[in-house]
Amino acid sequence: MSVATSEVTAGETQTVVAARRLRDTRTVFIGVGRPSTAAILARMVHNPELVLVYESGTIGAKPYHIPLSIGDGELAETADSIVSVPEMFNYWIGAGRIDVAFLGAAQIDPYANLNSTVIGDYAHPKTRLPGAGGAPEIAASCGEVIVIAPHARRTLVEKLDFVTTVGHGDGPGSRERLGFRGRGPTAVITDLGVLEPDSQTKRLLLTQIHPGVELDQVREQTGWELEVADELQVTEPPTAEELAKLRELLER
């Protein structure tokens, strides 16, 4: 059963699409915000055994509420295990024990490389962003990376102001040359659709468009010449269950 598209916000669709990606995932690494909401929703709807791992060292957290920070008390109280930061990065992330990582970024380029450091010049930035956090090593070592970001020209840019995190580098073979063990970004989920790297060129292709979104709108909001998959899918709208559970979660 689906719900009339007009009732669903773009953000809700984005969250639901991200949650669906976790149907068969064992472990997911998440930051706060929409990624966290999506992962908790996935546990509620698709995959109750999903292991949530937060950077703060909480492994197997089972939050009832959407946490504001990655280190909220509820994550510690419900975790299967709590580890130190060096252990988190060396034994769990670096060792490749996490299947999927959700990451955000201020800028994303056509090879899904990410910038979360500065807009403008590094020494004299126009906007100083928070910085790398765990992202570079998460993207290098987790099984795959799913990027969640707003679809806007200033976000999806031809060239990054700063490469904080390597996605597919400058194309095929980049990750192998750098010695990365994870597969890298497999999707960029936006509020307009889903972009996935082309299997040959590794450049992002629009593979999925959300219901009610026009292709021209996606082109307009993409800062490079958008390439579209031959078989562009329209996203299956959120089901009544997905939407009800998401809204209930946001209300908690």
Binding site: S56, P86, T127
Partner: protein
Amino acid sequence: MSLPDAVAELVSDGDSVALEGFTHLIPFAAGHEIIRQGRRELELIRMTPDLLYDQMIGMGVARRLVFSYGGNPGVGGLHRFRDAIEKGWPHPIEIEEHSHAGMANRYAAGAAEMPCAVMRGYVGTDLMSKTSVAEISCPFTGERLVAVPALRPDLAIVHAQEADREGNVQLWGIPGVQKEAVLAAQRSLVTVERIVDELELRPGGIVIPGWVIDAVAEVPGGSRPSYSLGITDRDNDFYKFWDKLSRDRDQFTDWMYANVLGKEVPAT
């Protein structure tokens, strides 16, 4: 020891100081005492500067900042941190930034008295050319790795739930890099929620023996608006409030004088 006495004895202008606590157990009260005592030119080291370093930077305490993620967790940016880097207010600061993995390994190397740590990371990023990291190859397998230099702060300050009368400290919940920071530093100060006759060992608790700690000060609520699991709750509303308040220099200054310094803003 009282907190003012401990800070007066252990913190000098120009020191490198790491106040650690990863979202949890952030030593706010100790940082505020450093501001009140008017310390200057500090090298402030912290994985996540958080609101505490935003306040210290905005009050002109920092000469240099070493960090890996300068955001307000789940809320947005840190406005005083941004203003200092983008516009040099209240004065310009130097920065050295790393990834979380890099910072965590740097502390661990410091704790082990090793000169550096070996890890996978940084390669391919623009951070490589902007920070202290070097590519090396594994002498056994030839694998491409990086080395990051050990962190050896003059002083580490952490907050914990409990200490006993001998100065042994126990913390539980998210442990962050506090133990590593204490062991990596030349000197250390631990503030605690309470002092007890005997530590009751907790599941997942970490005990830091008193003989590696220079001073313990009892400061109930000393991590607010961060939290001390089982004793105080994280004040998420304050983190949201800070996002609004700290955007404006005057509002920020007024708030710090009223709530941290406890006096009127001097006329300029």
